[in-house]
């Protein structure tokens, strides 16, 4: 049968070419499905992307690929992911981290991709807690976090039963929350388990070229599988009827139909596209605010290790009681994440051409979003200084003049930047506070994947896309 030039029917429509959307498209491509992948932005990758400024390429999002395990590690999420996408471990070009640290007032816990380091640090800093910590670890290892129907349990509640020292609880929660919690104060226990495994039991790695190496790899697979992709084009509206999405109007005016629509743009964001029925979720119904972040990037003509900054990632809090919540002010500089992408074990002692220092802190979306341009710039400059000053308290000391002398570039992104480029409401990085784990919506041919399904991190988001593609693309025949 000759194909009509503007065939308007697809087996699958995937909204968003981030990690989840691309991974889903690759799977469906393997199944021989007719897939259309839409991306409203000009660049693929979604929250894990990159941009160019002043001739420099900056990573967005990715500090580290979490869930890192060496090639051939059995039953690990990364192994499963590679298998499903038919990508070899070597192709990812991952270099493991050096060492990372959780830094609280007077207490430090170092950890690496070898869990023994964290265990020995817990026994050094919290000797009374070590047996309980080991029990907790066993509980985490045996917990089935992938059971989509499991009950919702509070991580804080379980931790307070398992451990006694509140400081240890907060020091464990700090990195796990920063790298994946969409909720203030607490996290669901299954997410705690996912993140504990991803960060502590597995580990951090990074491709030498940064996240674009991974997005390019996915793009190459999409091309090999001839998946149809439209850039700079999102969905205008979804037309519903009889419990399904009948038609989809694209930004470019085209109207298409699809047996299944996989949306990775967020639950509320997806619901808002349904034009003729009430949205199935609303941001106003969310019980806690969406969490957003600011990030500063400093570029140096010097390797950070020469200043003694030799760690990969430092999670810091200057309060014993770690506050993971939306700040009232523009930024909460009391806690944050310091990432030095130079400090991975790159092969052959390779080093990045320039030194990078990235600092992430919690931010208030509403404060940033309404600012007139001039004030916005001024606030950015003010908070840049504030964040760097705060973070440097947790790094080996270096003279201000020395830093200034070697600083060759800076940049910063705010909640406003995130919403502008990803379309996520509230500048949300980890999506809506409440997750829809099975991805279901009231419409039988509309499913959610990605952050709002609750699988986080770059590995998690790809696995989310894969699991939804398998569920709806393969098993249903």
């Amino acid at each position: 049968m000759a194909r009509r030039p503007r065939e308007d029917h697809y087996d699958f429509l995937i909204i968003g070419a981030g990690m989840a959307g691309m991974a889903a498209a690759i799977r469906l491509g393997h199944f021989g499905k007719k897939v259309l992948l839409l991306e409203r932005h000009a660049i693929i990758g979604g929250l894990n992307s990159f941009y160019k400024q002043d001739g420099r390429k900056y990573d967005v999002g990715l500090h580290a690929v979490t869930n890192y395990v060496p090639a051939g590690t059995k039953r690990a999420p990364l192994t499963k992911l590679l298998r499903q996408l038919r990508i070899s471990h070597a192709d990812l070009d991952l270099s493991p981290q050096k060492v990372s640290r959780v830094a609280f007032p007077g207490h430090d816990l170092r950890f690496s991709n070898d869990f023994i380091l964290l265990e020995s640090e817990v026994s050094r800093v919290f000797p009374k807690e070590i047996d309980r910590f080991r029990n907790l670890t066993e509980k985490v290892k045996s917990f089935d976090e992938l059971d989509l129907q499991g009950p919702k349990l509070s991580a804080r509640k379980i931790l307070s039963e398992e451990l006694q020292d509140p400081l240890l609880i907060d020091m464990l929660l700090c990195p796990l929350m920063y790298y994946g919690s969409a909720k203030e104060g607490d996290m669901d226990f299954y997410q705690f388990v996912i993140m504990f495994k991803a960060l502590f039991l597995e580990g951090f790695a990074r491709p030498f070229e940064g996240v674009r190496h991974i997005t390019q790899l996915l793009l190459r697979r999409l091309r090999e599988l001839s998946v149809e992709r439209i850039m700079n084009c999102g969905v205008q509206s979804l037309r519903a009827g009889e419990g399904e999405i009948k038609e989809v109007l694209l930004d470019n005016g085209r109207v298409i139909r699809a047996d299944c629509i996989l949306s990775t743009i967020g639950s509320v964001e997806t619901a808002a596209l349904v034009e003729n029925e009430a949205p199935f979720v609303r941001q106003a119904e969310e019980k806690t605010p969406r969490l957003s972040f600011v990030e500063t990037i400093s570029v140096f003509d010097k390797q950070p290790v020469d200043w003694g900054w030799d760690e990969t990632i430092v999670f810091f809090s200057d309060q014993e009681k770690f506050a993971y919540e939306q700040p009232d002010d523009y930024v909460d500089p009391r806690s944050g994440v310091i990432c030095v992408p130079n400090n991975y074990q790159y092969p052959d002692e390779k080093t990045l051409a320039e030194g990078f220092l990235r600092i992430t802190c919690l931010a208030n979306y509403d404060r940033w979003v309404g600012l007139p341009e001039e004030t916005y710039r001024a606030e950015k400059a003010r908070w840049f200084e504030e964040m760097v000053r705060s973070a440097r308290r947790f790094l080996p000391p270096v003279e201000d003049a020395e830093i200034e002398k070697h600083q060759v570039g800076t940049d910063m992104f705010t909640p406003r930047t995130i919403t502008k480029y990803t379309g996520h409401l509230g500048g949300a990085v980890y999506g809506a506070p409440e997750k829809i784990r099975d991805g279901r919506t009231p419409y039988r041919n509309l499913v959610l994947a990605g952050t709002d399904q609750g699988f986080l991190g770059i590995t998690g988001s790809m696995l989310s896309g894969i699991s939804m593609a398998n569920l709806h693309g393969l098993q249903s025949g």
Binding site: R75, T79, K80, R83, R86
Partner: protein, 86 residues
């Protein structure tokens, strides 16, 4: 097609879907699952590739016949030969 050729077809598919697995000395009489890190989803992928690459249909009830290379050859070789004879 001989049974040995049939085994090679299955090994080629495994190499495609699991590029990091070493398939160089698989024991034909031992379950693939016990030698390689394959889960049920990976078996679905093998079934899918048999269909896509070779036009061989494996109904769900027969999935357990793909357990080892020997059982694959036993089950699939007649299917290949039937198809080639047409």
């Amino acid at each position: 097609m001989t049974k040995e050729e049939c085994k090679q077809v299955v090994i080629d598919i495994i190499n495609d879907i699991a590029p990091d697995e070493d398939t160089s000395d698989l024991k034909p009489d031992v379950r693939l699952r016990d030698q390689l890190d394959l889960d049920s989803m990976d078996f679905l992928d093998i079934v899918m590739e048999l269909r896509k690459q070779h036009g061989i249909e494996v109904p769900e009830a027969d999935y357990q016949k793909l357990a080892s290379l020997d059982s694959c050859a036993e089950y699939l070789t007649p299917k290949f030969n039937e198809k080639n004879a047409v």
